[in-house]
């Protein structure tokens, strides 16, 4: 079906949106009747079904209300990325860029390729139908334009990746309308092949901007059939091209104005393409394994199916929330009206520390005060901004074993020099001077901490996070004085480059156990890879917020040094994909802490890999990853037994399956974060809290759905619930 761009697009409101593929005839015009004459340029037949659908078209600019009816179309404006290139009216080759990470699908009029790509689409579409019928849940439909959200980058990737695979769970549950949105017209056009396997010529758009109509699969497939001959295609192409000079300008203008609203698009790089293709293979493999994770997934999904078939009979979809939760949890019945545990009195140690903090200047000596108390005092002082030179002198006096100042922003260069000039550091084991940017340029070090080659002989833990004036030279001087460092924190040291890491690997290669390089902007993972591989005993590697973290580089590192790795912090490494998790799971059997917050491209396969590979995970941090409820539940079932801390912050789809799994399989769980998981009902949370006997902290920020039934009804006396509305929580954060 050719795309017609021959009409002005009147502004429309109230465009209903629906999931599913749409045909590729996005008619940016309003009512159906008008289309008859307008499309007279092409001898195209439109099915009556389509006509009815077109009544609800949207055009650009859009401000629509969305209704959540299945069967209504949704228009979404694509991101500013140009999708198709028009390759001339005479040519029969249509180059179409599919709208996912830069993958190019070349559609020629060749039957072959179209069939091929069409069949790929076919499978996806079929899957979509299944899912769509399951999914449509709450009536919250998201309007792209209105919220300025962009259409999906990661979701569309899911789509493309899912081709041919039985992975439906990505298209998972509740708020997944996004997953529906990103089909380009071309893709949808191909989808038509589900019904009609004759070749469909996909007309590409000549503009940056496209309108996409998504229609329910049931409706869309039969339509749009018109077998268009090549010649007619060309004819329309020409027509469109010629007739639309001004219109193209208009669209271009509009796109320019609005493209910024769709801010999210992926930079297309070769790396990503490689990773994508390897992901495809990789995903295929996970499904083939008859491993415990896949079995668990299957069982859970079957359970879901059974429980929902009853509801589904005759109804094309059901609301996720309406489905009766299989969890039956009765809140504890109490005879007394107010539930408050006897308030434990503050400890004497706390009380005396508070007094000390207020009168810190009156302290004359810290002799005999054990290190943990010194550290705690210092922390409290820094928190209340009462830390000063006097106290630092107290800390530095004698031959201290630990000097921990979490906030040195008040310290000047002169005072730093004065303090550390004569400090006896022969016994110093822990040195923490965080946020020391102001006081630690390179030139103060040779006279203070680095004044002799063996000045810090026992130093095993060094933290200089925030040392923004420290460069490679300074660090070299410092490290040369401290040959026994086992843990070094160089977070936010923006001047350090890869030569620092080379230097570290040369001097500390055989002793260093922990390396923190969070937010070191000048360090490129590619350049430090060889150095990283030289650390023989590296157990903790923290690479938060480093844009250079890529799948290929990570793979190289973990294959070399993954055996010893115990903690891997990869927060905000947005470029990583499932294949990286596969590499990690294969090479890091001893991994106990894994932080994958904001690694948005991960899918359920990642959970499969982790379940199969990393059996001793104790702390697992997810945030904004799009995993499905079933996958998380299966993961907890297979390897949740060792979990002590689990964060499912903003993993929006978790619900009762996960709750059941957590309650049954996580005996050791102490800290659980289900903030922003709105599908966790009172029952689910109550069940978890009552069953997890070790649970100490439960974070429920943003969970507006929980009520007093849970808050007052649970019978776990040890659990602290953080994040309820209007609850002060800052004082409790320190406890964690």
């Amino acid at each position: 079906m050719t795309m017609l761009r021959s009409r002005e697009i009147p502004s429309v409101s109230g465009k209903p949106r629906s999931k599913g593929h749409s045909s590729d005839t996005i008619q940016p015009s309003s009512p159906a009747p008008k289309q008859g004459p307008a499309t007279s340029t092409t001898p195209r037949r439109r099915s009556p079904r389509l006509e009815s659908l077109y009544e609800k078209e949207v055009s650009i600019p859009v401000s629509r209300e969305i209704k959540s009816n299945v069967g209504e179309r949704v228009l979404s404006l694509r991101s500013g990325k140009k999708v198709a290139k028009f390759s001339g009216s005479g040519s029969r080759e249509l180059d179409v860029e599919v709208e996912s990470e830069g993958k190019k699908v070349c559609l020629s009029d060749d039957d072959d390729s179209i069939e091929r790509s069409g069949s790929k689409r076919k499978r996806v579409l079929v899957e979509d139908t299944n899912v769509a019928s399951k999914e449509l849940d709450n009536s919250r439909v998201i309007v792209d334009e209105e919220k300025g959200k962009t259409v999906v980058a990661h979701v569309s990737v899911d789509q493309t990746r899912d081709k041919g695979k039985g992975i439906v769970e990505d298209l998972g549950q509740a708020n997944d309308l996004e997953s529906r949105r990103k089909y380009t017209r071309e893709e949808k056009g191909k989808g038509i092949q589900v019904e009609d396997t004759t070749s469909v010529v996909v007309q590409e758009m000549e503009m940056e901007m496209e309108m996409e109509m998504e229609m329910e699969m049931d409706n869309s497939m039969n339509i749009e059939n018109p077998p268009v001959t090549d010649s007619s295609v060309n004819a329309t192409n020409t027509q469109i091209q010629n007739g639309n000079g001004s219109r193209s300008q208009h669209f271009r203008d509009f796109a320019e104005k609005n493209a910024s609203r769709f801010a999210r698009f992926d930079v297309e790089t070769d790396d990503e393409e490689d990773e994508l293709s390897s992901d495809l293979e990789v995903e295929q493999q996970v499904e083939d394994w008859p491993g415990p994770f896949s079995t668990a997934m299957k069982i859970i999904k079957d359970r879901e199916e059974d429980s929902t078939t009853i509801l589904h009979s005759g109804v094309p979809f059901s609301s996720h929330l309406e489905r009766s939760s299989p969890i039956v949890w009765a809140p504890r019945r109490r005879s007394d009206t107010t539930f408050s545990p006897p308030r434990a009195a503050p400890s004497l140690q706390e009380l005396s520390m508070q007094v000390l903090v207020k009168n810190a200047d009156a302290i004359t000596s810290l002799d005999y005060v054990p290190d943990p108390l010194r550290v705690k005092l210092c922390q409290l002082l820094c928190d209340s901004r009462r830390m000063n030179l006097h106290f630092l002198h107290l800390l530095v006096r004698g031959s201290p074993t630990a000097i921990c100042v979490p906030d040195c922003s008040w310290l000047t260069e002169e005072h730093f020099t004065e303090c550390f000039n004569n400090c006896d550091t022969t016994n110093l084991m822990v040195l923490q001077l965080d946020q020391c940017g102001r006081c630690m340029p390179d030139y103060v070090l040779p006279s203070t901490l680095a004044r002799s080659p063996k000045n810090l002989p026992m130093l095993s833990s060094l933290s200089l996070s925030g040392a923004c004036r420290l460069s490679d030279v300074g660090l070299r001087a410092l490290v040369s004085a401290a040959p026994a460092i086992r843990s070094i924190n160089l977070s936010q040291c923006s001047l350090l480059t890869s030569s620092s890491i080379d230097m570290l690997s040369d001097s500390l290669g055989s002793v260093l156990r922990e390396l923190y390089l969070n937010e070191c902007q000048s360090i490129d993972l590619k350049l430090i890879l060889t150095a990283l591989k030289k650390f023989e005993k590296l157990e903790v590697l923290s690479l938060v917020d480093l844009p250079s973290v890529r799948g290929r580089l990570l793979r190289e590192f973990v294959t070399a040094r993954g055996q010893a790795l115990k903690q891997l912090i990869l927060t905000n490494s947005v470029k990583l994909t499932d294949s990286s998790i596969k590499d990690i799971s294969e090479n890091c059997p001893n991994l106990s802490v894994l932080d994958l917050a904001n690694v948005c491209k991960l899918t359920d396969c990642a959970l499969g890999y982790l379940a199969n590979g990393c059996h001793s995970l104790e702390k697992l941090i997810f945030c904004r990853n799009s995993f499905s409820d079933e996958a998380v539940a299966a993961f907890v079932e297979t390897s949740g037994g060792s979990l002590v801390e689990l964060s499912l912050n903003n993993v929006k789809k978790v619900g009762h399956n996960t709750a059941l799994a957590l309650a049954k399989f996580s005996e050791k769980l102490q800290i659980l974060d289900v903030s922003w998981c709105r599908d966790m009902s009172d029952d689910a949370l109550g069940y978890i809290v009552d069953s997890c006997s070790s649970l100490k902290v439960l974070k429920v920020f943003g969970c507006t759905q929980i009520t007093d039934a849970f808050i007052r009804g649970h019978s776990n006396p040890n659990v602290k619930i953080l994040g309820l509305k209007m609850d002060p929580f800052l004082d409790r954060l320190a406890d964690n």
């Binding site: 006897p342 308030r343 434990a344 009195a345 400890s347 004497l348 140690q349 009380l351 005396s352 520390m353 007094v355 000390l356 009168n359 009156a362 302290i363 005999y368 005060v369 054990p370 943990p372 108390l373």
Partner: protein, 96 residues
Amino acid sequence: MRETVKLISMEGFEFIIDREAAMVSQTIRSMLTSPGGFSESKDGVVTFPDISTTILEKICQYFYWSLQYSRGKETEFHIEPELTLELMMAANYLHT
């Protein structure tokens, strides 16, 4: 002696307090209830050669204040600044 226990300071002062009050300190609680047949649990007497009298007295006052607090009467426990450092260290040792 089941009802009271005796805490002896560095200088030899003896403080006789309720068993329940002494149990506020985790250290004393485990001393008094440990199954090893130690003299502390048998006699109900605990000696603290490192804790001075003034500090020990303050600690006993804290025990009673803590019991009062958990029963609902929430008042303020005042600590003289000159005692605080030692008090903090003793409290750390006594795990209270």
